[in-house]
Structures are given as structure tokens and as C-alpha cells.
């Protein structure tokens, strides 16, 4: 009796496990059609004049916490939300070309040093105030003082008011990346009302008033951010492309739920709470079979290995060359994204899609996969078994960590002694700023729109300190015609492959899944633009 009991209990347990496993795969079809995702808010019928059957509320999952909603602070982490609330003078279209948004047009002086921006008339802020030059000047000067990239570009120049709808920027030298700096979401050169800017303390603005198609309603820290349609939104007429052009809010409410756990996000997508979710390789099989879901592949970050150019070893270019020689880009990329479909080799510091700034210069130095050459260089440099510290974190999805351990393995294979320093993200930020704390940092970087915005060419990131590099970077930003840009860009990239502030490894893709009833979602550099999004019932 006892034995039978034990066995039957075990059998029951196994049966239960099978039941759950068996039911879970490829069986979402029946469920997906039922139940609208919208739950609590608002009237059943859409108040839009559009006759289609549209839902009025969209819940969008965010994978990371939002430390602040101030657009000029904590760049990258809050852009998902802020790009729907705020706008800048320009915005990028799908080819990363700056297109006027809040600016109507601009003029550039003959010597390339003075920009004159003509503002659109009648653009309303969410608080009803009309946007004028005083707001633009206050916002952009604040933006400049808070953003490292902006300071690098603009130096001491300030934005000044010429008249109610005209703003001027007088630079010390000509720079061709100003419009890109003002457009890229990475920099978030958002325009806020002057009063809001002036009332802000060092920890940020207290009101989130912008000009975008959605306005801020509520932010429950660590839980959700609630935006609502801004009825007085003034759209530009140009066709929508990337983050620029016509924006029309079909949704009345957008709720960004903060869901850091990826399994929870995915389960919520399957159950119908969300119609968009990021997909990892483990989850992929579960969405591939679904008939009402489209899989999207989005170009994401690129991977670079950054050297601490102040460290005892890597201040010597020979050691940097040795590392560049041994790196096997395919191995590192595959180790990071786990699938050959999710990466591509790219020797340039820019994406090929960015036609103005892409260059093939120096590609003979890319992906050398040459351990013998590396050993030779180590010997020439006089390597004596010194330990190399690789700084990384397991947070941020584990991708930094994966890339780092593949690099570690490749270094160890040629006899380099290595040590992994794994910390949490907050500590990593601190350590990276300390020249005595690390040698190599392998990271994923959101792609900026011009090489001048690349963080690792900048002294604050990896402590690049080279006169020729600085000179070539400056020459690049001063170039004005397309030909001049191409020549200067090739020269800079060629030199970078010799100086090796960092070693480019490759580009990665991420995947996302969208229910077919969600249309009009456009992403640029991975950031979703929710204007023009329609969600059918």
C-alpha cells in the first residue's frame, strides 16, 4: 500500500508537470483574440472622429526603472517616455537626417559659425503657453550645461534670443554636428517653458511640460507613468519618418508599466495585457508560431572594447594593438547575442545606414583574429604577466557580462593574465570614472548620429588623450561639404584604428514582437515613437 501510494504520488506530480509544459507552447491562438488589453480607464467608445474601431488605452512595458523624467538628465533611461512628451528643434528621420520639428527653418552664416533658428508660430506647451524664443533659449542653455556631449560640441557658446521667434547660436568655430546634437534622442535637447526650467534644482525639473503629442499625467515611481493625449498638439505637415514628421495621437491614454522582470513582461504579453514586448532567444519559439503576432528585428547597440588609456599597460599603444589583433569579433558577438541572426560585422564606428558618417577606412585592422600576431606584439611590448582587470556588470540583461567573458577567454588564450571585476551598475559607473580601477571595459553603446558624439573618443570615457585624435575630431566637425566630411571622416576613422581608443567589435540586433492589432509603431535606435500608433479593438 505504501509503495503504491508513493509511486502514485510521483506519477501525479510528473503528470502535473507535463500538463503545464504541454499546454504552454504554441497554444496562444485561442486566447489572443479574447479580451481587450485596456482595463480601467475611460469610456467604451472612442471619442475620435476616426470611424475605425480603435482602443483608447495602450499599456507599454518598460524594462528599466526610470530614475527621473527630466529630459535633460539620466539620458537613455527615460527616453522611451520623454520622447513622447517633449520635442526639440529638430528630429531624426529614419535615415538619421535632422528634420525641423519645433524649428520652422534655419540659416547658417557663410563662415559656418552662426546658426539662426526660426521657430514655428503658435506651438502650444501642455500648460497652454505658446512656445517662444525665451523658452527655447532657457531650455537649450540648460541642456548644454547638463550634457557632456553638448558641452563638447558647443564649448562656451550660448543660445541667444534675437526676437520672439528667432534664436541664434554663435559658435567659436564651425561645427557640422549641431543639428544632429539637437535631433538625437540620445541627447534629448527638449524644449520646456522658461518658468519650468528656471524653477528646476540640481535634481531636475518639477513639472514635465513639453510640446509633444502626449502630456504628462501621473508618475507612480517604480510602477508606471501615465500620459494622455494632448488635444492642442500642433503637428508638422511633413510625412512621418523615424521620429520626425507628422504626429497624430490616436490613443487617449498611454501607460508605461515598469516591469523589470523579463519573464513577467513576456507572460503579460502572452496573456494580452501588452501588445508589444522585447523577445529573447528563450522566448522566441513561443511567439514564432502565433498567427496574430509579427516579429521585428531592430538594430540595437554596437559593442566596443574600451581601453583605460591611463592604465599602466594600455597607455602603451602596443598593448592596445595586441588586444585588437587577438579579438575574434564573430566569437564575441555570437557569445553576446547567441544567434548569428542577431549580429553583424561592421568595422566602422557608425552604422552603414547612416550614409553621411559611415566609413570603411581602417577596416584591415578590424576582426583580425590573429593570436600569433598578438603574442608577438605582447612580447615586443615587454609583457611580463601583469594582470589585466576587465570591468563589467551582470545587470542590463547580462549582455555586457557575456561579451566580457568571451574577450577574457581570448586574452587568456594568448597568455594574458586577467581578472574580472563584476559589480552592479551603480558601482560600475563609479569605477569607470576612476583611472586606477580598470583596464578594459567591454560595453554595448547606443549609436549616436555623428562620430563627434562617440563617448569613447572623448577624454571622459576611457581617458583618451591624444593631440592628433582631438585635431582630427575637430577637423571632422568643421567640415562643411559632403566631400570634406567624407575625407575628414575617413581620416578620423583610419587614425582611430591606429590609435585604438577603443576596438569596434560589431553591431547587434534585438527582437521584439508586436500584435498585429497594434499598428503605426516606429522605432529609431530602439526607441519607440508612440505618436501615430493605432490599436484596434
Amino acid at each position: 500500500m505504501t509503495k503504491l501510494y508513493r509511486h502514485s504520488f510521483l506519477a501525479l506530480l510528473i503528470l502535473a508537470l507535463f500538463a503545464v509544459y504541454g499546454c504552454s507552447s504554441n497554444n496562444g491562438n485561442g486566447g489572443a483574440a479574447s479580451g481587450a488589453p485596456a482595463s480601467s480607464t475611460g469610456a467604451a467608445g472612442s471619442a475620435e472622429t476616426v470611424s475605425e474601431n480603435l482602443a483608447t488605452e495602450l499599456r507599454f512595458p518598460l524594462a528599466q526603472q526610470v530614475p527621473t523624467l527630466d529630459p535633460h538628465l539620466a539620458l537613455n533611461t527615460n527616453v522611451y517616455v520623454t520622447l513622447n512628451i517633449f520635442e526639440g528643434l529638430f528630429a531624426f528621420d529614419e535615415n538619421f537626417k535632422p528634420v525641423p520639428m519645433l524649428a520652422e527653418s534655419y540659416d547658417l552664416s557663410e563662415d559656418g559659425k552662426t546658426y539662426t533658428f526660426h521657430l514655428r508660430h503658435g506651438v502650444k506647451f501642455h500648460n497652454g503657453k505658446e512656445m517662444k524664443a525665451e523658452d527655447v533659449v532657457a531650455s537649450l542653455n540648460r541642456w548644454k550645461s547638463l550634457t557632456g556631449r553638448a558641452q563638447a560640441s558647443l564649448g562656451d557658446s550660448e543660445f541667444t534670443i534675437k526676437d520672439d521667434y528667432t534664436v541664434e547660436l554663435a559658435l567659436a568655430e564651425p561645427r557640422n554636428d549641431i543639428l544632429s546634437q539637437l535631433s538625437h534622442v540620445l541627447n534629448n535637447a527638449a524644449i520646456l517653458p522658461k518658468e519650468v526650467v528656471e524653477a528646476a534644482g540640481p535634481d531636475g525639473v518639477t513639472e514635465y511640460i513639453g510640446t509633444g503629442p502626449f502630456k504628462f499625467v501621473e508618475w507612480k515611481q517604480d510602477q508606471y507613468v501615465h500620459l494622455a493625449k494632448f488635444d492642442d498638439y500642433q503637428s508638422v505637415e511633413a510625412p512621418a519618418s523615424g521620429l520626425s514628421g507628422k504626429k497624430e495621437a490616436f490613443l487617449k491614454d498611454v501607460i508605461f508599466d515598469i516591469v523589470p522582470d523579463s519573464a513577467t513582461r513576456f507572460a503579460s504579453f502572452l496573456s494580452g495585457t501588452y501588445d508589444y514586448v522585447d523577445v529573447t532567444l528563450d522566448n522566441l519559439p513561443q511567439v514564432q508560431g502565433l498567427s496574430d503576432v509579427t516579429l521585428n528585428k531592430n538594430l540595437g547597440s554596437d559593442i566596443n572594447l574600451v581601453f583605460n588609456k591611463k592604465s599602466p599597460l594600455f597607455s602603451n599603444v602596443k598593448y592596445r594593438e595586441a588586444v585588437a589583433a587577438v579579438l575574434d569579433a564573430d566569437e564575441i558577438l555570437l557569445g553576446t547575442v547567441s544567434s548569428p541572426d542577431l549580429y553583424r560585422l561592421n568595422s566602422s564606428y557608425m552604422y552603414p545606414e547612416n550614409t553621411t558618417w559611415y566609413s570603411e577606412a581602417g577596416k584591415e585592422n578590424y576582426n583580425q583574429k590573429n593570436p600569433d600576431k598578438a603574442k608577438q606584439l605582447l612580447q615586443e611590448a615587454g609583457y611580463n604577466g601583469q594582470e589585466v582587470t576587465l570591468l563589467t556588470t551582470k545587470e542590463l540583461g547580462g549582455t555586457f557580462y557575456n561579451a566580457t567573458i568571451v574577450v577574457q577567454k581570448e586574452l587568456e588564450a594568448i597568455g594574458v593574465k586577467t581578472k574580472l571585476d563584476i559589480t552592479d551598475f551603480a558601482t560600475l559607473l563609479k569605477k569607470r570614472a576612476d583611472p586606477n580601477a580598470w583596464d578594459i571595459y567591454v560595453g554595448l553603446f547606443t549609436m549616436p548620429s555623428t562620430p563627434s558624439q562617440l563617448l569613447y573618443l572623448n577624454p571622459t570615457y576611457g581617458f583618451a588623450d591624444d593631440a592628433k585624435l582631438a585635431e582630427l575630431t575637430k577637423a571632422l566637425t568643421a567640415a562643411s561639404t559632403e566631400e570634406e566630411i567624407k575625407t575628414a571622416n575617413d581620416a578620423l576613422q583610419q587614425y582611430e584604428w591606429e590609435y585604438l581608443a577603443a576596438v569596434k567589435i560589431g553591431d547587434t540586433y534585438s527582437q521584439s514582437a508586436t500584435r498585429n492589432k497594434l499598428t503605426g509603431l516606429v522605432t529609431l535606435a530602439g526607441y519607440p515613437n508612440l505618436a501615430n500608433v493605432k490599436l484596434s479593438k
Binding site: 486566447g31 530614475p67 538628465l73 537613455n76 547638463l146 557632456g148 540640481p202 519573464a263 495585457t273
Partner: protein, 314 residues
């Protein structure tokens, strides 16, 4: 009675004080700083420094602690850097979900464990007893989050009876409030039940071996009367202790479960604050949890006195 309570509460103050010093030292000695986290990756060192000044992070440790304890004694636990509210408000807001979750989980645990344990003890060696052993093993070995994944897969994704994650406060309606808490409460409650069931069983068995039980049986007391009036009442003490302990653990915030189900409770608050280095909140949460434990233990001791008239509170 009131005297006893007051004395017990007063006795916790030195404990809290020592705890605050220890926590203060630990969190300040950890590298990483809230200003850098708040301002993000591309911020210039000057901006970070300015924020640090404003936050008072560059003052000597003793000054910072002194300021904090001075305010704390007046009931002001400081302000959160990231949440734009006072620590007291943050604690109050996050307490609700955790309390609801803890109460629901504890109810589930008791509802499963008590009948199972009683049955297993009174029918020792038979089916119920074996079921309890199996169940205990299951509950203790299977981690809460694995259980939560199974339940989510079944009830939320397949059957769509319950939401996957999130939280709605009780002001939105009792059922709305409960439906978000059922799955996490099951994940927590089953694990607690496993532990509790064994304690109920062993405690009952201990009493069943007493001579007065034999006397009662000889007197002709029926089984039901025996179990509930004689055995269970005497078995309460260890059971109460374990219930108290488990409730204390639940109040401390089941951080993993709260993270999975996105419940804005104490556990999630603590984890987020540590990640961001939100020092005042970390201090506040740790102190609050310590205080909660003390309170729960106090309640258990009071219940002892109620359940067992032989116990005199000193």
C-alpha cells in the same frame, strides 16, 4: 497588560539604534553613489558633484549620521532622492501592498496547513500523513518563484483568469485588489504552509502523547471534541510562534515575489533603493522591518497569554 506592552516597546529602542548605526555604516561603505545613478551615463563630473553637494553626500559620515538620527528622533526619516517624497510617505505607500500580500499569504498558509496538520496528526501514518510529508517536501524544496512561474503560466497565460502582474489598491474595489494578489499569495503561502503543516503535526502529536489525552479518551470524549477542545488548544503555542515568525518574514517583503509580480511593496522598495543607493529609504525600510518583527513577536507573546491562562506576562 498595558504596562507590559509599553515596556516591551521601549525595550526595542536600543535595538533600533544599534541597527541604524550598522546599516548606516554598511550602505555608506558600499561603492557607487546616488547622484551618478540619477544623472546617468553621459553626465559630466561637474553636474554629478553639484548634485552630491546638494544631497549633502560630501559631509563627514558622523555629521550625516548625526543629522539623520536627530531628525529620526523627531519622526522625520528624511526624503527619498529618487521618489520625490519623504521616506515616511514612501514607507506608508509601500506598506499597504505588502501587508495585504502578507495577510493573504498567511491566510492561505493557515488554511492549508492547519487542517492538513491536524488530520495528519490524528490519523498518523495514514494517507493524510503521507500527503503532508509529500506536500512539506514539495513546499520546502520548490522555490517560491518557480511555483509562481507555474501558476502564472496556468492561471494567467492559459486560462486568463487572473492578471500576470501588477497591483491595484483596495480603494479600487475588493475583488480588483485581491485578483492581483492571489497568485503571489499562493506562491508565498504554499511555501509557508509546508513549514507550518509540519509544526502543526508535530505539536499535535506531542500533545496526543500526554496522559490527559488518554484520560479524556477513557472518559469517552469523542474524536472531534478531543482534537479541537483538548489537543489543539494545548498545541497552539509552537504553532503561534511559527505563524508569527512567518508573518514577520512576509512583512519584511518577499522581494523576489514582489519583483516578479510587480507589486510595489516593501521588498521591491528595498531592492530598488539599494540598486539606486537611495540611502535614506534603505535606512527607513530596514528600521521599519526590524520594528515590524518586534511588533509581531510582541503580538505573539500577548496571544500566548490569551491562549494559555497559565502564562503570566512579566
Amino acid at each position: 497588560m498595558a504596562f507590559y506592552i509599553a515596556r516591551r516597546l521601549l525595550a526595542t529602542i536600543p535595538v533600533l539604534f544599534v541597527l541604524s548605526v550598522i546599516v548606516f555604516l554598511i550602505i555608506y561603505l558600499i561603492p557607487g553613489d546616488p547622484a551618478a545613478v540619477m544623472l546617468g551615463d553621459g553626465a559630466s563630473p561637474e553636474t554629478i558633484e553639484a548634485l552630491r553637494e546638494q544631497m549633502g553626500l560630501n559631509l563627514p559620515l558622523l555629521t550625516q549620521y548625526g543629522t539623520w538620527i536627530g531628525h529620526a528622533l523627531q519622526g522625520d526619516l528624511g526624503d527619498s532622492y529618487f521618489m520625490r517624497q519623504s521616506v515616511r510617505t514612501a514607507l506608508a505607500e509601500h506598506l499597504g501592498p505588502t501587508l495585504s500580500l502578507a495577510v493573504l499569504a498567511e491566510i492561505i498558509a493557515v488554511v492549508i496547513a492547519l487542517p492538513l496538520g491536524i488530520r495528519a496528526a490524528s490519523r498518523r501514518g495514514e494517507a493524510a500523513d503521507k500527503a503532508l510529508t509529500g506536500f512539506s517536501l514539495f513546499g520546502i524544496t520548490v522555490p517560491g518563484f518557480v511555483l509562481s512561474m507555474f501558476t502564472v503560466l496556468l492561471f494567467s497565460v492559459q486560462l486568463k483568469w487572473l492578471p500576470v502582474s501588477g497591483y491595484k489598491p483596495i480603494s479600487d474595489g475588493l475583488w480588483t485588489h485581491l485578483q492581483y494578489l492571489i497568485l503571489p499569495a499562493i506562491s508565498l503561502g504554499v511555501v509557508q504552509a509546508a513549514l507550518l503543516a509540519r509544526v502543526v503535526r508535530s505539536s499535535m502529536l506531542d500533545v496526543l502523547n500526554e496522559s490527559y489525552v488518554k484520560t479524556a479518551l477513557a472518559k469517552g470524549v469523542g474524536e472531534r471534541g478531543l482534537v479541537y477542545r483538548h489537543v489543539l488548544r494545548n498545541a497552539w503555542l509552537p504553532i503561534l510562534t511559527v505563524i508569527g515568525g512567518s508573518f514577520g518574514t512576509l512583512i519584511a517583503g518577499a522581494a523576489v515575489i514582489e519583483s516578479i509580480f510587480n507589486i510595489p511593496g516593501m521588498g521591491q522598495l528595498l531592492v530598488n533603493s539599494v540598486q539606486r543607493r537611495d540611502y535614506s529609504v534603505i535606512q527607513g525600510v530596514v528600521l521599519f522591518v526590524a520594528f515590524a518583527y518586534v511588533l509581531v513577536n510582541l503580538v505573539v507573546d500577548l496571544l500566548y497569554a490569551i491562549v494559555d491562562p497559565r502564562i503570566r506576562l512579566k
